[in-house]
């Protein structure tokens, strides 16, 4: 089974972290300590989806921590994927509010870098790297979730561009984003299931775009429905080749799944529990508590090593789509298990409105938990991807 092997056959779990990455990690930690001290943000579970802060994103941009791996001529910093990984995981572990730029930096920018015209690269990449230009994901539709290729949004050719009708759903933060890379049909559905689709860069402020909120189980608004009613999309906003949408979206999904955010969403719960036990009047923990904490820590450590290995594979020019799928399956289930385990250990009443951080984070973990194994590809679909690599499909 050739999973998690570097091109030279060596182990991606035994690559030493270069000295410059350690220095970078310290810089990020100092910045986060200063931000926390200045009360810039309130930690919460799932902050990478829930925490939207243009100020924070711009501050990261100023420090050169967005677009890290992109060419300098497009506003990037030409640093290895590993450096982006280090910055990302420190931000995630601190529950920093990165939602504004997260998608743009993680996948939209790389998609434009790979498939975009020179004009598109110049128009979007530097602004994303400054933390000023935000992108959403236009893939799912009300009738097309796991079966993404069944989408119905249709763009018809008109002079100088396309006329788009249809709708996209989920589209987190579309109501505050600027653009959305959107998968649409540009040819009628034919015999080939994956043919006839294209990606368009939609200006979310364009005429004919209506954004309606979808409120989540926890009362929060980040999901939306985005409706296209005769939206004109100029030819210059086609991303890549007309008809190549499926191949491009698969590439974008690989970027989406390859980061460290799929194991840290509920870390605040664990940290709050430990904090409680280090307080002066804390109860002495029993054997069961010690065992469960030890197991949670061992699982977290292992998951992080897996995620780091994905970054090493990326740096070697690999496309670790199967490895990413596997880590996302393990990591998201861990995120849910962590919440359930701490809930069992801590005699509290979880509530979103509690002044006590542990109660608040547990409530966030419980309410947001079902989404962890659904978003970015359900775990069942991801396991199908792994099964294919095992030769079973």
């Amino acid at each position: 089974m050739q999973l998690f092997t570097l091109p030279d056959g060596s182990s991606p779990f035994q690559v030493p972290l270069a000295a410059d990455a350690k220095g970078l990690r310290q810089e990020v930690r100092v910045f986060l300590r200063e931000s926390a001290a200045a009360d810039w943000f309130e930690p919460q579970c799932d902050a990478w989806i829930a925490g939207f802060s243009p100020e924070f994103s711009q501050a990261l941009g100023e420090r050169g921590w967005l677009g890290m791996a992109w060419p300098k001529k497009y506003g990037g910093h030409e640093r290895p994927s590993l450096h982006r990984f280090v910055v990302s995981e420190e931000l995630l572990a601190a529950s920093a509010p990165v939602a504004a730029h997260w998608i743009a930096d993680r996948q939209s920018g790389p998609a434009i870098l790979r498939y975009g015209t020179e004009q598109q690269k110049q128009q979007f990449l530097p602004a994303i790297a400054r933390g000023e230009c935000y992108f959403g994901i236009g893939m799912s539709e009300p009738d097309s979730g796991s079966d993404l290729a069944s989408i119905r949004s249709l763009a018809e050719k008109v002079p100088n561009g396309w006329r788009l009708n249809g709708r996209k759903v989920w589209t987190s933060w579309a109501h505050r984003f600027h653009y959305m890379i959107t998968l649409v049909r540009t040819a009628p559905r034919g015999e080939k299931h994956h043919a006839g689709m294209s990606q368009l860069i939609i200006d979310l402020s364009a005429a004919g775009v209506t954004i309606k909120p979808i409120i989540s189980i926890d009362g929060e608004h980040h999901f939306n429905q985005v409706i296209f009613d005769g939206v004109f999309v100029p030819d210059e906003m086609v991303l890549g080749e007309v008809g190549n949408g499926w191949g491009q979206v698969v590439g974008e999904l690989a970027f989406e799944r390859s980061g460290p955010e799929r194991l840290l969403s509920t870390l605040p719960v664990l940290l709050a529990f430990i904090q409680r036990h280090s307080e002066p009047n804390a109860q002495t923990a029993d054997r069961h508590t010690h065992i469960m904490l030890g197991r949670l820590t061992a699982q977290l450590w292992t998951l992080r090593r897996l995620s780091l290995a994905v970054a090493h594979l990326l740096d070697q020019g690999d496309v670790p789509d199967v490895e990413s799928a596997l880590v996302k399956d393990l990591g998201t289930r861990y995120e849910q298990t962590l919440t359930e385990t701490i809930r069992e250990l801590a005699p509290v009443q979880p509530s979103l409105h509690s002044a006590d951080p542990l109660e608040r984070y547990l409530a966030q973990g419980l309410l947001r938990g079902p989404s962890f194994t659904l978003r970015g590809g359900t775990n069942e679909i991801l396991r199908g991807i792994v099964a294919r690599r095992l030769g079973l499909r």
Binding site: M1, G9, L271, G294, R295, L303, L382, V386, A387
Partner: protein, 348 residues
């Protein structure tokens, strides 16, 4: 071709050729399978990571772990982990390897055993239990109260016993038994590293056996047909197989990271080994359950070779510290930290 690849290929060939199901069955019946030992001895791979100064061939821990993992992929009926561990101890103690097959005996908490310096030299008295393959080897390296000693097992009374996988785990009773060699008191950090290194080597064996049950399962679901097609085509099976692969990959990640950290930090890598032993132990629980479920009734038989691996996994999971023991220790360490130090601890 690099050194590690060469070692891996040699080990794969030697164990692949000798560890047939007939050999594994004979081993379960209590026979000593000389054919496997002979093949190993000819390659010298049992002496990897043992310092040349005491008769080993040198080489890294990573190389020894590679051989051990491959041996476990073939369920090799040998005390190879004990040989590597004893070899390491002999290196620390400055005692030469004995002239013949040997194993390692570490006192269990309930064992009543002691070294004594007498007028006629150092002697060993008492009882040591769960000694791997004691009945099949000539010598035991024994660790008692911080000293390493070498004893001829012909001078002991052996009472056979087995672990869950029917691997020999014998009791040896000593009565004023002469020690062939005995060391000075070893440094405390060496003694405290012994259970850590042992846990790491057992973890390597578990990873090898996990890899074997994954390969076995992939083969089986491709061949076994029901309802007119290989069962691999059913989504339920595909979901299980992906979970199984996930556990094996997680186990690999934990082991390989821990090996790197022990090589870098030596005694300082106790937490990494603890976390690896815990995570791989957990992987065993999930992976063996899935492997047996996928194999149906066939996997439940003596005849089909799955059990050689799943029994070893269940047995090894509880040796050198079960997950609960290591997790309890780790959990206490975690609670000594302030919350803001957990993440830096995980990153290392």
């Amino acid at each position: 071709m690099n050194e590690l690849t060469l070692i891996a290929e040699t080990a794969g060939r030697l164990f692949g050729e000798t560890c047939t199901t007939a050999v594994l069955e004979a081993a379960e019946q209590g026979e000593w399978t000389e054919i496997v030992w002979d093949a190993l001895e000819q390659t010298g791979l049992h002496l990897i990571s043992v310092p040349e100064a005491v008769g080993g061939v040198g080489g890294s821990l990573n190389e020894a772990v590679t051989v051990l993992r491959i041996a476990a992929q073939h369920a090799a009926p040998l005390p190879l982990a004990e040989i590597y561990l004893a070899g390491w101890l002999l290196g620390e103690a400055g005692i030469g390897l004995p002239n013949g097959r040997f194993t390692l005996a570490i006192p269990r908490p309930t064992n009543d055993v002691a070294f004594a310096e007498t007028a006629v030299g150092w002697q060993l008295a008492g009882e040591l239990t769960r000694i791997a393959f004691a009945r099949h080897v000539g010598f035991a390296i024994v660790v008692v109260a911080g000293r390493v000693g070498l004893v001829d097992l012909a001078d002991a009374t052996l009472i056979p016993s087995q672990n869950l996988a029917e691997e020999p785990r014998d009791t040896a009773v000593f009565a004023q038994t002469k020690l062939l060699a005995v060391s000075e008191s070893l440094a405390p950090e060496v003694i405290s590293h012994l259970p850590v290194r042992g846990a790491l080597l057992r973890t390597a064996q578990m990873v090898g056996a996990l890899e074997a049950i994954l390969a076995c399962s992939i083969r089986y679901v491709g061949e076994r047909e029901q309802f007119g097609r290989p069962i691999a085509k059913f989504q339920a099976i595909q979901q299980y197989m992906a979970q199984l692969a996930g556990e094996v990959v997680a186990a690999k990640a934990a082991l390989e990271t821990a090996v790197m950290l022990v090589e870098q930090e030596g005694q300082g890598a106790k937490t990494a080994v603890a976390m690896a032993k815990i995570r791989v132990g957990e992987a065993v629980s999930t992976a063996t359950r899935i492997a047996h479920q996928i194999h149906g009734a066939m996997g439940f038989t003596q005849e089909y070779p799955l059990h050689y691996f799943t029994k070893r996994l269940w047995a090894w999971r509880d040796e050198f510290g079960a997950e609960g023991e290591w997790a309890e220790w780790l959990g206490k360490e975690v609670l000594k930290m302030k919350a803001q130090n957990l993440w830096p601890f995980v990153v290392g």
